[in-house]
C-alpha cells in the first residue's frame, strides 16, 4: 500500500528512480544535489542495484551510456556546472538512441556560479546543450510528489522513444521537504530491448550502439529518423497544467519553483479582481506551444516568470508569434522572486494596460 511520508526533493529523485525500476546510478558529488548520490549509495545495495561514484561527470554519463546501451534502466544526476560536463555524453546518447535519465538540480551560473536555486539551464536543457541536431525530453517538476511521479514518467518515456530524458529542477525543489505518497507502479515491466548489447547469445544478430555515420547519406538518415521521432514526441508527449486561464486576461507562464511562487501571487491578484491565470509547462521539451498559440489566438496576454534573465520566454514568444504581448519578470541566478514581487509585476501589468486604454 502507498504510504504518506515526508521526503526531501533530492531523496525523491533517488527513490522515485528506484521505484521506477532504475537499478544503476552513476554520479559525482556537486551541491545542491549531493543527497541523490548519497541516498543511492545507501539504497542501491538494498535493492540489488549498482551505485558508482564516478571519477568525473564525464565518466558518469558514459557509464550511463554503457549500462543503458546494455539494456538497463540507468541514470545520473548533477547540478549545472556538472551537467555542462555531461553534454558530450548526452549528445552521443541522443545520437545512439540510448534510453536513460539525467537529473539536473540547477544552481546559479554562469561559470562556477553559486549554490542557490536557478532556472538558467533552460536553454542548455531544451536547445541541445551538446553538439548536433538533437533533443531530449525535459520534465520540470514543481513539487516533491511530482518529482517522484515524473521520475517514473521519465524512465517510461526514455524506453518508449529510446531517448535521453532530463528531469530539470532547481536547488529549492531539491532541498525542500514535502509529504509524498510513494506509489508502487503497476506497470514496471521494462520493455524488450532487442537492440541492446547483451551479447550475440543463441544467434542474436549483432547489436551496435553507435553514433558514427561517416557516409553523408548514412548520417542524414540517422538525423531524419531522429527528427521523425522528435515530431512524434511533440505530437504525443506535451504536458502542462492550467489554472484559471479561461477567463484570464493575463496568463503567467512559469515552471518549477517560479510556478509555485506565481500561484500565490496570482491568488493575491485574483482576490483583487485581476483576471490572471497560470500556465505551467510540465514538459519544457516538447514545449506546449500549440496550447499557448490557442490562448494567444483567444486574445490572452502573457508574462513569463523565471529565475533567469529570460530563457523560456523565447519559446513563449515563438508560440505566441506576435499575436499578443509577452512580458517578463525574472530574478537572476540564485535569487528566488518573492510572492510580493510577482504580485506587483502583475498589478503593474494591469495598471500599464489601464494607462494605454
Amino acid at each position: 500500500m502507498a504510504e504518506r511520508i515526508m521526503m526531501k526533493g533530492n531523496e525523491a529523485f533517488a527513490e522515485g528512480a528506484i521505484k521506477a525500476g532504475c537499478h544503476f546510478f552513476f554520479g559525482y558529488p556537486i551541491t545542491p544535489q549531493n543527497e541523490i548520490p548519497e541516498y543511492m549509495s545507501r539504497r542501491m545495495p538494498e535493492v540489488g542495484g549498482t551505485f558508482i561514484q564516478a571519477e568525473s561527470e564525464v565518466s558518469a554519463i558514459n557509464m550511463v551510456y554503457g549500462a543503458g546501451g546494455a539494456g538497463a534502466r540507468a541514470m545520473t544526476s548533477s547540478s549545472s556546472p556538472g551537467v555542462s560536463l555531461k553534454q558530450e555524453g548526452i549528445s552521443y546518447i541522443a545520437a545512439a538512441e540510448v534510453p536513460c535519465v539525467i537529473v539536473n538540480v540547477a544552481r546559479g551560473g554562469p561559470g562556477l556560479g553559486g549554490l542557490t536555486p536557478s532556472q538558467a539551464d533552460y536553454f542548455q536543457a531544451v536547445k541541445g546543450g551538446g553538439h548536433g541536431d538533437y533533443h531530449m525530453v525535459v520534465f520540470a517538476p514543481a513539487s516533491v510528489q511530482e518529482i517522484i511521479d515524473l521520475m517514473y514518467e521519465a524512465f517510461v518515456t526514455a524506453d518508449k522513444y529510446r531517448t535521453p530524458v532530463m528531469v530539470l529542477a532547481d536547488g529549492l525543489l531539491g532541498q525542500m521537504m514535502e509529504p509524498v505518497v510513494l506509489r508502487d507502479w503497476e506497470d514496471l515491466q521494462i520493455p524488450e530491448k532487442p537492440w541492446a548489447t547483451t551479447g550475440m547469445v543463441s544467434g542474436k544478430p549483432q547489436s551496435v550502439i553507435n553514433s558514427l555515420g561517416l557516409a553523408p547519406e548514412e548520417l542524414e538518415n540517422l538525423n531524419l529518423r531522429l527528427q521523425k521521432k522528435y515530431r512524434t514526441i511533440e505530437e504525443n508527449g506535451v504536458r502542462y497544467e492550467e489554472d484559471g486561464v479561461e477567463d484570464a486576461e493575463l496568463i503567467i507562464v512559469a515552471y518549477g519553483t517560479s510556478a509555485r511562487v506565481s500561484k500565490s501571487a496570482i491568488a493575491k491578484a485574483r482576490a483583487e479582481g485581476k483576471k490572471v491565470g497560470l500556465f505551467r509547462p510540465i514538459t519544457l521539451w516538447p514545449f506546449p506551444s500549440k496550447r499557448l498559440a490557442e490562448l494567444a489566438e483567444a486574445g490572452k496576454r502573457f508574462m513569463a516568470v523565471e529565475m533567469s534573465a529570460g530563457q523560456m520566454i523565447e519559446d513563449v514568444k515563438l508560440a505566441v508569434n506576435g499575436k499578443t504581448e509577452v512580458e517578463f519578470y525574472g530574478r537572476y541566478n540564485g535569487a528566488i522572486p518573492s510572492v510580493t514581487e510577482v504580485y506587483q509585476a502583475i498589478i503593474k501589468s494591469f495598471d500599464n494596460r489601464e494607462v494605454q486604454k
Binding site: N62, A67, G199, Q206, S207
Partner: protein
C-alpha cells in the same frame, strides 16, 4: 580435410580500412583468436574507441558500443556492471587512452573493473593525420611536433603499464609487441591470459601492444617494424608488470 588455418569466428569477414602495413589487423586477429579459444564470443561486448579503431564494431563479430574519445573504460564499466557475466573489452589507441581518456583508464583500473583493455600504442595520432601523442618519443617528428618532440615543453612518453602498476587493484598488466612472429605469439599469449582473467572474475586486465603506423611515420611497413624494435621497445620495455597469479606464487 582437416582445416589448419582460417578466419577466427570472432572476426567478421569484411576487409578492414587499416593502411597497408599497419599492425591493427594482426592485433584484431589476436583478440579474436583469444575470444574464440575461450569460447566467449556470444558473451563478448566490444567497446570501440575514437581513432583508427573507431570502426572495430565492423570487424569484431560480437556486440559492440562505440564510445566518445577516451571514454571507453567508463562505457565498459557501465556495460559490465549491467551484465556482469558478459565479457567486456575496450580497444583503444594511445591518444584515446593516455591523453583524453587518462582519467577514465586510471579509475577503471583503480576500481578493479573486471574488464579487459587492449591498448594499442603506436606513438602517434593515426586517424587525425599524424599528430603528437602522449607516447610520442623524444625527438620524434609529427605534424604537431615538426621539429621533433621537445621534452622541455611537451614532456616525455607516458609509460601506461608502469603507471597503472602502481595501483593495487589491477589483476594483469603486460606490454607486448607485434613487430615479429615471435613477439606476435607472445602478444597472443598475453591477450588470451587477460581475457582468461576476466572470465575467471579476477579483475582489471590491460595489454599494451606496441604497434606501427607506417603511413604517419613516413616509412615502409618493413622500416616501421624495424623502427618499432629499435626505438619503441627501449622506451616501452616489454614484459608483465602485474599478474595476480605470479604474485600469489
Amino acid at each position: 580435410m582437416k582445416q589448419v588455418f582460417g578466419y577466427p569466428e570472432s572476426l567478421q569477414t569484411r576487409p578492414n580500412h587499416y593502411c597497408p602495413g599497419c599492425t591493427h589487423g594482426i592485433i584484431h586477429r589476436l583478440v579474436a583468436e583469444a575470444i574464440d579459444e575461450l569460447q566467449v564470443r556470444e558473451k563478448a561486448i566490444a567497446v570501440a574507441p575514437v581513432g583508427c579503431a573507431v570502426l572495430a564494431y565492423n570487424y569484431f563479430n560480437c556486440d559492440a558500443q562505440q564510445a566518445a574519445h577516451g571514454r571507453a573504460p567508463a562505457v565498459a564499466t557501465g556495460i559490465k556492471r549491467a551484465l556482469p557475466d558478459r565479457i567486456v573489452f575496450t580497444y583503444q589507441g594511445d591518444g584515446d587512452l593516455a591523453s583524453i581518456g587518462m582519467a577514465e583508464i586510471v579509475h577503471a583500473a583503480n576500481r578493479g573493473e573486471n574488464i579487459t583493455v587492449i591498448f594499442v600504442n603506436n606513438a602517434i595520432y593515426g586517424m587525425t593525420g599524424g599528430q603528437m601523442a602522449p607516447t610520442t618519443l623524444p625527438g620524434q617528428k609529427t605534424t604537431t611536433s615538426p621539429y621533433g618532440r621537445d621534452t622541455a615543453t611537451t614532456g616525455y612518453p607516458i609509460q601506461v603499464c608502469e603507471m597503472l602498476s602502481t595501483l593495487k587493484a589491477p589483476a594483469f598488466i603486460a606490454r607486448v609487441s607485434v613487430h615479429d612472429p615471435k613477439n606476435v605469439l607472445k602478444a597472443k599469449e598475453a591477450i588470451k591470459k587477460a581475457f582468461e582473467y576476466q572470465v575467471n572474475g579476477k579483475g582489471f586486465t590491460l595489454v599494451e601492444v606496441l604497434s606501427t603506423c607506417p603511413t604517419n611515420w613516413g616509412m615502409t611497413p618493413v622500416e616501421a617494424l624495424k623502427w618499432l624494435e629499435n626505438n619503441m621497445i627501449p622506451a616501452f620495455p616489454l614484459g608483465t608488470f602485474r599478474s595476480l597469479e605470479e604474485v600469489s606464487k
